[in-house]
């Protein structure tokens, strides 16, 4: 191959473009003047300690919180980059159940606990107009398989699942409509390390095979090293450092990042 053939692959237009995003809670800063571009197929990690503003930022990006200033531009296809904050509520909600997905830390926040696993996966399909039971069920089975949940659990309610299974079900429920951008809030938080590893492998495979873009908030540096291509470090609501994940972790350029990296307990 030509040594510069890789350049043809690097997409020229970002999928998500964030500019000057600011959210305040009264006099307190949630996040301030955050900006970045996310390209198709890229996974960006956001790290920082509790209260650093990373969850506020994620919720502003996903449309759960209304920022006080800034733009969240998303590539809507034919229309190109559009400010999602300026969309009408129906348009924004439509986006949230088609092109976007949100994986909560606690699967209970992202699943319907009284609805079967198949119904949970099928809901987004039905929400966008699927009206063939057989096709919906086939999709649900396919996705349960992809997240390694046995087919005979399709009619069980998630309340009967382990935490790791619930998290995998939440991921299947979110990805069934083939979104282009996934927001994840501590997706491996609260899981056993062995379950975490399996989930990480699953997410890496899905990102690669579906060409997904993702924004992942976590305080687990080991998780971002394995999952995120790029890293953004936040402190006190501001971005203190960004770059390639391994570069930021191995050669941090900011005092806070150095402190964060050097504070990780070694096994």
């Amino acid at each position: 191959m030509r040594a510069d053939a890789f350049r043809a692959e690097a997409p020229v237009a970002p999928l998500l473009s964030v500019r000057g995003l600011t959210k305040r809670y009264g006099g307190r800063v949630g996040c301030e003047d955050v900006g970045f571009d996310l390209y198709p197929g890229e996974v960006m990690g956001i790290v920082g300690e509790s209260g650093s503003g990373k969850s506020t930022l994620l919720n502003c990006l996903a449309g759960h919180l209304r920022p006080d200033a800034g733009e969240v531009l998303f590539d809507l296809g034919e229309e190109g980059l559009c400010d999602t904050l300026a969309l009408s509520e129906p348009e924004r909600r439509r986006l949230a159940r088609t092109d976007w997905a949100f994986v909560h830390q606690n699967p209970r926040d992202g699943l319907r606990m009284t609805v079967s696993a198949g119904g949970n996966v099928g809901e987004r399909l039905m929400a966008v107009g699927a009206r063939n039971y057989g096709a919906i069920r086939a999709s649900a089975l396919d996705w349960l398989g992809r997240v390694e949940i046995a087919a005979d659990r399709i009619d069980d309610r998630p309340a009967a699942f382990s935490g790791g299974m619930q998290q995998r079900l939440q991921i299947a429920r979110n990805l069934v409509t083939g979104p282009r951008l996934v927001f994840m809030d501590e997706p491996t938080g609260g899981l056993d390390v062995s379950v975490q590893a399996r989930l990480l492998d699953l997410l890496r495979g899905l990102v690669r095979d579906m060409g997904l873009s993702a924004v992942i908030v976590t305080h687990d540096l080991a998780v971002v090293r394995l999952l995120a291509h790029r890293l953004m470090v936040m402190k006190g609501g501001r971005v203190v450092e960004t770059g390639l994940t391994d570069q930021v972790l191995d050669d941090p350029q900011h005092g806070y990042t150095q402190l964060l990296v050097s504070s990780v307990l070694q096994v």
Binding site: A3, A5, S194, L200, L226, Q253
Partner: protein, 236 residues
Amino acid sequence: MGIWAKKKDEAMIELSGVAKSFTLYNQGGAAIPVMAGAALSVAPGECVALTGASGAGKSTLMRMIHGNYLAASGRIVVGGLDVAAAEPREILALRRHVLGYVSQFLRVVPRVPTLDVVAEPLLAVGVPVEAARDRAAALLARLNIPRPLWDLSPTTFSGGEQQRVNIARGFAHDYPALLLDEPTASLDPGNREVVLGLIEAAKARGAAILGIFHDAGARARVCDREVDVSAFAVAP
């Protein structure tokens, strides 16, 4: 633009005026310059060894070329891309397609089977799963990783086995440029021979290789030139 479009003897990896310093913010913000004026080039089909005493900056230089360390100044051009000034996504694409790296450490998701760990660089460039697994299996077999281990995660392997899995991963895709950090360390003579064979084959297909070899015999056999990193070192 691309190196194949240039003359055959033009460099695949070319460094000029590269400097590096570390700032220890949590120890009074002391800036420690470690390297300045680093320059070298590696042409396609060439293997260049980095030499110098321990601590001279061989690994630091390799890491800067890989984009893992940030250069303070200078140009680091690999396959036409200046790594020192490139966007993260450009470096990611470069690493996927052009620049392979065999480090001394294996960093993978726990519980992923060895076969998939080795096949992953191929999947990342769009090789079909079966073809990628076949290639991975061939490399593992050549590097004498016992068949029963292929389905296990390499995180539980011995140091030597991990090193060989790392090498298999680094040679899975035919990268036009390769960085090798002590590829023959901790290998027995048989496996050392296999790795040197892989390096020779990569050179033969035109890969530009930059490596650190403490093993003088290996260096003499596969390297065309040596660059002494001590020349770029800055006294602290």
